[in-house]
Amino acid sequence: MSTLADAAWDLLARAAHEAQPIAGVAAEWAARFDGPLRVEVVGEPGSGRSTLVEALAGAPFETVGSGGDVRLRLVRRPDEVSGGDAVSTIVVLSRADELGGGRIGAVDGARAVAARHARGDVGEHCQAVVAVAALPAVGGLRLTRADATALSTLASKPEALLSVDRLTAHVGPELPAKLGVFGVRAAVELVRRGAAVPAGLIQLSGVPDLLAAVDAHFLARPAVLRARAALGALLPVVRGHPLAAEVERVLTSAHEPRELRLLAELDSGRVTFGERDGEARHLLGGLGTAPATRLALSGEPYQAYLRWHALTESPDHTHAQRCAAAVVARTCEALVAVGFVE
């Protein structure tokens, strides 16, 4: 249990004794404290929300329509993103197959676009940008024997794969509707290669990438994100109340969200310390938050602190790097002082 979570739990317990509506909100969030992380999936109509939710079924978190601890933000194009709380957001470039015109390599192209935007402006508003074409992943799991037969007949008819109209003419409307044109083309390719179609489609769809991103950015420290979300929800109702100052203090002084943010920036390449990235990741708890794991590459915490603190004043580094080094140094400081990070 992290200290932000402890502080949040403490505040929620105190708030539960206050008048309504504070007590109601506090009780509601306190009740969720031990459940799975709630992931909110948001997006415009037609952004592929329901398909993605379906594709994420069975993941070790709960997907909700609103009031989640963290959110997946679905967009058709990266330039739709603006604003939002970065630490608790992952941007999903949905219907990624369409971005590349449904070619076999469409999702790979979309992946490259996503990575480029993660390094650019969009990266300021989220932890990661992931390209996903959820329809083939979902459809792949529902393939019937008839669909399999249709796919194998299509393998010998490349001209039928040219357009959705031709596909419909050859195999009827169900298969294109189920997999999408990209899905059918990919499935035919898999059939041709003799690979397992559903697994191959899932692999191509980018859904595993999304799960990995959620795992890395959200599930590594769910307590921190949940505590943040709870305090964030409490803040508007305690406005003007003596608790407000304390809630704000805990929210703004918490160091763990900054660690998460810096880890995401290291991942996307927005910030780098060159060969010291590995040490930074360890220290920031990217591979586990136990003090021993954090210090695995650094050794003595005080020496580590001195090294990283020196970077914060180094003229050889950019402003972004110096700010990032300050976050790492702050982690080291905490490791020196109490053996774990507040």
């Binding site: 015109g101 469409a106 192209g109 040219l162 357009s163 109209d165």
Partner: protein
Amino acid sequence: MEAGSVRGTGPAFFTYPGEHGILKRVMTAPPWLGLLDDTIRACAAHQRHDLVDRLLDRRAGLLEPGRRVVVTGYPGKGKSHLVNALVGAEVCPVGTDLTTEVATVVRHAERPTPLVAAADSTTPRDVGLPRALLGAGLVLVDSPGFGAPGCPRTARALAALAEADAVLVVTDATGELTPLELELLTHVSRLCPTVLVALTKIDLVPGWRRVADADRGRLAEVGVSATLVPVSSVLRSAAVEAEDTELNRESGFADLIGVLRRDVLTDPARVAARAAAATSGLALEQLITPLRAEFDAGVAPTDTRALAEWQAAGRRVERLQRESARWQTQLADDVADLVSDLDFDLRERTRRILREVDDYFDAADPGKVWPEFTDWMHDSLTSVAEVNSGWLVQRFEWIAARVARKALPDADVVGSALLGELGARWQEDMRRPNIERFSPAQKVFVGLRGSYSGLLMSGLATTLAGLPLINPISLGAGAAFGARSVFEERGARLKRRQAVAKTAAQRHVDDFFLRYGKEAKDATRVVHRTLRDRCIEVAHSLREAAAESARTIKTELEAEAARRTSRLTEVRRDLERLLALRTRIEAAR
């Protein structure tokens, strides 16, 4: 060329690049050219040189051979891909993300021009290709996708649109037309009336027919009359490569080319005319809007403050005139009162003096006290004159102040200096009356006369007693009679002297009364006149000033009204002219 004065009128008006091209065409000048030139002249006349520049560029563009079809839309819809598929060559860069940064102009050329990368991020690239469609007079422009308002890419997209003769708006089948796209379409159709819509990616989306129908419905809703053609650039490219006419038909590009030929190439002059009309209409609208606002504001009432000032000035003049009659009457009344008061006062005081003189001379002997008496008389009269004239001055000051308050409400009060000459002192000495004194000789004579008769009376009586006429008795009686006579004569003389003195005093006071009274009255009249003249003079100048200011305000008001009226007339004339031009343009559409 310097924008501004040169462009107004005269032969320099059409001196701009491309003039020679136009001269060649003068013989067959299309009818829209006149409308466009009229619009340009109107813009120049209204000092809208920005519009003039834009319209001149447009004019030059419209006069060029070949109609420009600008392919536009939001990013990622497949604009560049569509252009490539249309000409069957990779002339525009295509990618998964924002790829098109600058416009690419594709026109006909006998042999393909080598593809070069954009020189910089602002100038459009030019590409030449030997294609029948282009040879028929079509110029394709692939423009950057619209982004955030104000970003450079959006600005370049708009710049490309400004030169469009026809617009091909590209949307894709993965979703229905968004409100933003509909807004773009409305904007585009105002800018350029020949609009086509291409629905791309129909090879990818199973429900594209439904999307196409929905999009057509939305276009009709917003009132944009544009033919929507569903296309697939992927299929077209494949068809071109495989020379597969069936696939080409499926791609929808056969239809698209058909529509382009029908709407753009069949009657290019009409396309140019419609574009010119739309451009002129928009420019005219920009001229008309401020003029109309000015015209509407112009009929508002004139400056109420100035009007109020003018009315106030007029009222002031009237009031001053009214006051002038009133204060003159008042002044005359006051002076009449003053004269009567003064007269009474003078009379009262002189009477008192006379009463004192009477009392005095009942007892005193003028002969003995005359010098003291004349001194006293002199002092008394002087004091009367002083008091009386002092009073006169005081009263006049009061009257002057009162009249000044009435007559000259805001002029300086007439000073008492006017009254300085009055109050001359009473100087003349009293004339001494002829007071006969009782001299010793007269006493002897009177005594002798009395004693003679006494002597005679008692002498006669005593003669009867035989006594001589002069005897001691008669002598004694004579002496007694003589003494009595002298005594009586003295009393009688005193009385007479007193009477004479009284009369003299009376006469003297009367003189004083007469002459001082006259003098005082004269002075009063003089002061009265001076005061009246002075007041009239000041009041007159005040009235003049007030009248002058009223006149000035009125002149200003009239000038302002005249200016406004003439400006309004001018605005109305301009408006009518512009509206007439607009009607002609509407008719040309």
